[in-house]
């Protein structure tokens, strides 16, 4: 079974790691070899690859070959303050297939929210090769940062943050 068209998974890493990656890339002049970076930082290579992938999804870097290249919007991102960064992330998330799908799904609900179980079912259906639980956690993390989604664990509500 393949994933639904246009919808791709996101790696399960945190946004601060992505920002750190972009920063260090900038420190090194905007271009670096991925393997070398992992070695220098003493970072697990497969973990770093995930961070690179996430940075790519957020359109902050490019990854030609095994290299990391800082994109102009990545440089802009670095110079922005924390609130501007959130706006940028939010914009990028909106453009991402999976987040877009969830935004539209939530918008059609009464109270614009869903129980976690329901979201997990949707994720399992859309991306059958991914672990829905892990994916959910990453979605919540990214969504919260971009102030796109919210999740109240006590009341089990995954909801659309105010527009």
């Amino acid at each position: 079974m393949s994933s639904a068209p246009g919808i791709y998974p996101i790696p399960d890493i945190n946004l601060p790691q992505v920002f750190g990656l972009v920063e260090i890339l900038d420190d090194r002049g905007g271009r670096e070899d991925g393997y070398k970076l992992a070695r220098d930082l003493n970072f697990n290579l497969s973990e770093l690859l995930k961070v690179m992938k996430a940075a790519e999804i957020l359109q902050l870097v490019e990854t030609p070959g095994g290299d990391l290249v800082l994109l102009p919007q990545g440089k802009q991102f670095l110079e922005a303050d924390i609130n501007q960064r959130k706006l940028i992330i939010r914009q990028r998330l909106r453009e991402h297939g999976l987040f877009n799908y969830l935004v539209r799904l939530l918008a059609t609900q009464e109270e614009r929210s869903l129980a976690k179980e329901v979201v997990l079912e949707h994720l399992a259906m859309l991306l059958p090769n991914e672990d829905p639980e892990k994916l959910f956690n990453t979605l919540v993390n990214w969504g919260r940062f971009g102030e796109l989604f919210g999740y109240n664990k006590d009341e089990d509500r995954f909801y659309l943050d105010q527009e």
């Binding site: 420190d27 956690n137 993390n141």
Partner: protein, 252 residues
């Protein structure tokens, strides 16, 4: 006037059959607006010194003066950020941040307002209702920062705040700390950070106090004049780190 002054502060702990002298007659002053890093090998008592500064631990000898007066107990104008984050797992981010304010009897509405502001400042907006176990290390430390900033201290004391984080998150958080420190509307402009990573100290601090162990004492007090943001690849940066490293090494 110096904000914080330490006069011949010593600290002994009774261990087993003897007494361990952890700090030996430390004297130094901390001025308003400085970013000070304390570096040294493990066992040099830098964490203990930090806690003495904020009044968590009393000194065995010597005095700690805040704004000219001797402190007696916890100094409410200092706030601490912990290496292991020290968040309560059953409280949401918002409740954790409000904790210091709650302890001071700040009424509910004001508490929520202030907590909101600082949660926003550390970039955790949207995470108010999250619980610590849903957060990564970097996020948890941000909560730690928000909690400390919410009580609007005059001095921010940080005990190895980034050493429990992975390399990339640490980089990101360090940058944000610097950004925050330089904002005009921040309540606190004096920071004391304990770290064992020399690069971190050189990257962030105006002044580096180098310590040695057994017993803990100050061996050097360096002013860092490099303009920020500091570039790790420059000659000046590297010579500084080398110098500090050798200072520590020769006393080991």
């Amino acid at each position: 006037m110096a904000l914080l002054e330490l006069k011949a502060v010593s600290k002994q702990f009774s261990r087993g059959r003897g007494r361990l002298l952890v700090l030996d007659s430390i004297s130094t002053t901390i001025e308003q607006g400085q970013f000070i890093a304390m570096v040294g090998p493990s066992g040099c008592g830098k964490s203990t010194l930090l806690r003495i500064m904020n009044g968590l631990i009393p000194p065995s000898a010597g005095q700690v003066l805040y704004q000219g007066r001797q402190i007696d107990g916890i100094n409410p104008e200092c706030a601490l950020v912990f290496q292991s984050f020290a968040l309560l797992p059953w409280l949401s981010v918002k409740a954790n941040v409000e904790m210091g304010l709650e302890a001071r009897g700040v009424p509910l509405v004001e508490r929520e307002r202030r907590a909101s502001i600082y949660i926003d400042k550390v970039g955790l907006d949207g995470f108010e209702e999250a619980y610590p176990r849903e957060l990564s290390g970097g996020m948890k430390q941000r909560v730690g920062f928000a909690r400390a900033l919410a009580v609007e201290p005059k001095v921010l004391l940080m005990d190895e705040p980034f050493s429990a984080l992975d390399a990339l998150t640490a980089i990101s958080l360090r940058g944000e700390l610097l950004d925050m420190w330089q904002l005009p509307d921040m309540p606190v402009h004096t920071m004391v950070m304990v770290t064992h990573i020399i690069e971190e100290a050189v990257e962030l601090a105006d002044r580096i106090i180098v310590m040695a162990a057994s017993p803990g004492r100050i061996v050097a007090d360096l002013q860092i004049e490099l303009p920020r943001p500091r570039d790790k690849r420059t000659e000046a940066f590297n010579s500084l780190t080398d110098r500090i490293f050798s200072l520590i090494e020769e006393r080991a």
